[in-house]
Each structure stands twice: as structure tokens, then as C-alpha cells.
Symmetry: D2
Subunit: 155 residues, 4 copies
């Protein structure tokens, strides 16, 4: 997981254009979010917004999107909100989360918004809500804990 | 979500062969678990065991299986453990869960075991652990709350 | 736990003065919140605000308020937010919750705000945040799931 | 919170008598667990068992023990299981937990058992179950995440 490091207050800077570009490219190149059809909609320090469509390949037997697909969307939003908030050279990994499912999601689009509620020296906490864009109906809400660590230098 | 019903004590019977067959067929026919390559390994009252392989299409950018794919496996194990425990004519839906990730899962096989720790009149609680079969290393542990309800009669 | 009942849409009415008075009296008369020094600050449909002071009898060995005391405050805020939202004649009980601790709380006052994010037919979901009034620093955030049921008629 | 440190594999030793004595004394001297009447029943590496009685001062208005008191018991068991597992000189703090309430607890005794399911370099995960000693009925189950850190030297 790379070397251990702690985030100092003064390192909590704005999201540099190079880092934002790197994160957008990372999102576009990751197999699993791609398999599920996720797209990044917004990325600013402290917040990431990711969309996913309720296509039939994501369904469970009740013909609604599987809770695991919704969890995947939520985890991705939480993770990128954190990646957009830690200093350059730091990486994050979800160590645990909790999600409440509030309404079924069968078709159309879902937008997950991940927001940082705490950025400590070693951990980061994101809250996530997933909504249908038109009605504003909430599909799920969750809380994610992430560990922050110094990324291994790329070779 | 079908009519509301409560589970009576005397209804907590063994898993009838017809229901077990129905559940195995349901598992085999559901799009999302199939997309992720899940396979049912065991199904008895109070317990379900599901396997998934750490193939690259399930990876996130650190080249380990995405937390959302692991969550999907866990949710499926929790759900089928519950479906194998409620009386015939009842269905379940996950209303919330929490998962802790303990070790990265990159390749090989993962086995999720869902076990019912509580079957009430309206809710069911499953604990899930996901392990690598050889080493016995634990990848994740979680707790799932499900709502039990009378399934709509098939037409 | 009383008879089972479901909440109909039209029952989601405003908090009647008599019910608000009943809930405030209930809060004042409950042993455990009293033991911890909790006080109701606000009660409107969908929201409850409860205060608690960081006195030394609530401390753990690091001389900060014990996580259990903070959890008690959070659970009370979540519960009263729900009680202020369900129809008259309905009661609620927490079936599970998750709480993240973000900053230590040693002394002074903490205010917990419980807000209903979902009121279904049988369940209710509250989010809770606990803050220090002056600085606005967040002590903890959480998500609570409650079961709603028809209260037994008082005898 | 003291200096940051990581736990090395070779440091995961047995619970030395001096540390066990220190932890038992710490438990006995902490205000909040004392206020709730908690008593340490067992303490071995990887496991702690704590008892609490269902006395009326711990009740909520339904005349059962308040969920916050049950959470306090669970958190204490999780914490001491971790303290009995980290190397000497290390301390822990709960950063988040989730608890499911399975059966009401009104009177008699409850025993909480905290068990370590993961001890990493910086985090520790405990699972907790709370049972009534005679019947074996489970009152609650939970999962706790703790941060491990090098304790400040005592002065």
C-alpha cells in the first residue's frame, strides 16, 4: 500500500489541474467502473459526482439494480471525493462503509455525490448520497471511511 | 415490494427441495451476479456460500478487486442466506449493510459465506465473511439487515 | 413491540401540539438520557436536536467523552426525530446504526441533530451529526435505521 | 493522540502480566463504564468480555436498556479486546462502528464479547456480540474499527 505518511494541514490545497486531469484519466481507465458504465460528472476538492444508468445487466432478480452495483457507484464517488482532497502524492483506500438503500432503482440515471466530511492525518470520511436526477428521489445514503497513505512513486 | 406479512415461528422450517431448486435457478439467472462471475457453492437454511474470481475486469486502478465488486459478492451471500431461511412465499430485500475490508483481493478465488444471525418477524440480519479458500485469509467482514415480506404471487 | 402497522402517506402530518408535548415529557422522564444529562433543544417534524455536556463522569481513560455516551446522544436524537415524524399512535425502535467519530469531545457542550432522510411504511432512516456549538467542529456523524410500529394502547 | 506508529508483525506478542494488570486497573478506574456498572469478566489477547446489568437507570421509555447503553458496553468490549492485542506502548481509539440490535434487554445480565478479526499496521477491527448468559439469546452484534497509535509516554 505504499509508504505510510500523514497529511499536514498546509498540504490541504486546491485541486491542481494536473492532479484533476490524472484523476479523470484514472477514472476513465479503471476496468470495474467501466464495466458498470460509470461516468465522472464533477470533480472538485471535497466532492465527486459519478453517474450510472439502470441498465438490465446491473439488475438482480426483482428487476431493479443490484445493491452491489449501487454500492460500487457509492464507493467510487466516496473514493474520488477523497482523491480530490488529499495532497498530491497521497492515495486512499476504503477500509469500511455503510449504506442504506432508500428507494429501488430500476432504470434511468442515478447520480452519486461523495462529499468529504472529515480529512484527518491518516483517515478520511465521505458521505455519499445517490439520487435520481429528475425527481430528486434518494436511492441510497452512506458513510465511508478511507485510509490515506503516501502513494508509491511511479517507476 | 409485495404485500406485507410477518414470519411466524412455526413457519421457520427446513429448506424444501423445491425452494432450494428455485433459489439455485434464480441465482443462475440473475444478470448482475452473472456479470461478475458469481457461483453458488452451498445453500442450506441459514447459510449461503458464493464464489467469485479476482479477474481483471473487476479491478480498480490499484489492480485489486474493486470494493464494489466485493460488496456485490457479500450482498449476494447475505441475501441468499436469508432466502434459504424465510418461509416459502416470503422474499427479502437488503435495506442496509456495513462492510469492513481487511485484505486486498487481486486474483484467485474468494468465497463469501452469509450466515443468518437473526430472523425476526419483519427483519433478518446476516453476517458475511469473505475468505480466500487456501490461506484462509479474510478479505472482508460485514453485517446486513434485510426486510422480509410476502412475495407477490407469480402470475 | 405492539401490533404491526404500516404508515400510510396521508398519515404523515404535522407534529400536533399534544404529541409534541407528550414527546417532550417522555424525553424529560427517561432514566438513561437523564443520567447522561441530555436536554431536548428542538423538536419539529423530521428533526430533533439534543444537547449533552462533556462532564467528567462521561469520560473514558483518555479524559474525553466515551464513544458510548456520544452514541447514546446520537441514538436519542435519531429516535426523537423519528418520533416527531411518524403518525400519532406509532412508535419507533432503532434496529441498527453506524457512527463515525471525527473529533474528540472533552468538555463544553455537544449538540446532536437528528434528521429524517427516509420515512417508509415500516422503516425510517435518520442521519445524525454532533457538533460543538461555537466552533462548529463536527464530533461525529451517523446513520440510523428504525422500525416503525403501532404502539400498544396505554392501559 | 500521541505519536503515530505502526505495529510490526513481531510485536504481536502475548499479553504480558504487567500489561494485563494495567488494563484491568484502567477498566476499573474509568468513569463512564463505572457509571453504567460494567465489569471486566475476561481479558486475553484478541478477546475481552465485559458484563453489564439491565438496571432501571439504564432504561429508555419502553423500559428496556437504552441502545446507547448497549453501544457503550459493545464499544468497551471492542476497545479492550484491541488493547489486549496491540504491543505494549500502543493505544487504540474507536473511529467508527456499526451495531445491530436483535433482542430487547430489560433486566438480568448481558455479556459483551469483543474479538479481534483484523490487526493491521494502523487499524484494528473487532467484532462484538452481546448475549444473555443463561438463554444464550443475542442482544446485539457489531463491527468496530479502531485506529492504533503509539501512546504518549506517561510523565
Amino acid at each position: 500500500m505504499g509508504r505510510i505518511g500523514v497529511i499536514k494541514k498546509k498540504q490541504r490545497v486546491a485541486l491542481a489541474p494536473a492532479r484533476r486531469r490524472m484523476l479523470r484519466e484514472r477514472m476513465a481507465g479503471v476496468p470495474f467502473p467501466n464495466l458498470l458504465g460509470m461516468k465522472m460528472v464533477k470533480l472538485v476538492p471535497g466532492e465527486a459526482r459519478i453517474s450510472m444508468s439502470g441498465v438490465s445487466k446491473l439488475h438482480q432478480y426483482q428487476k431493479i439494480v443490484h445493491g452491489g452495483a449501487i454500492s460500487s457507484l457509492a464507493d467510487t464517488a466516496a473514493t474520488f471525493a477523497a482523491l480530490a482532497s488529499v495532497p498530491d502524492g497521497f492515495d486512499v483506500i476504503t477500509i469500511e462503509f455503510k449504506l442504506n438503500f432508500l428507494a429501488p432503482f430500476a432504470k434511468g440515471k442515478a447520480i452519486a455525490t461523495g462529499r468529504i466530511v472529515h480529512l484527518g492525518r491518516r483517515t478520511c470520511v465521505s458521505e455519499v448520497s445517490i439520487r435520481k436526477p429528475g425527481s430528486g428521489e434518494t436511492i441510497a445514503v452512506g458513510l465511508f471511511t478511507m485510509l490515506c497513505f503516501q502513494a508509491a512513486p511511479s517507476r
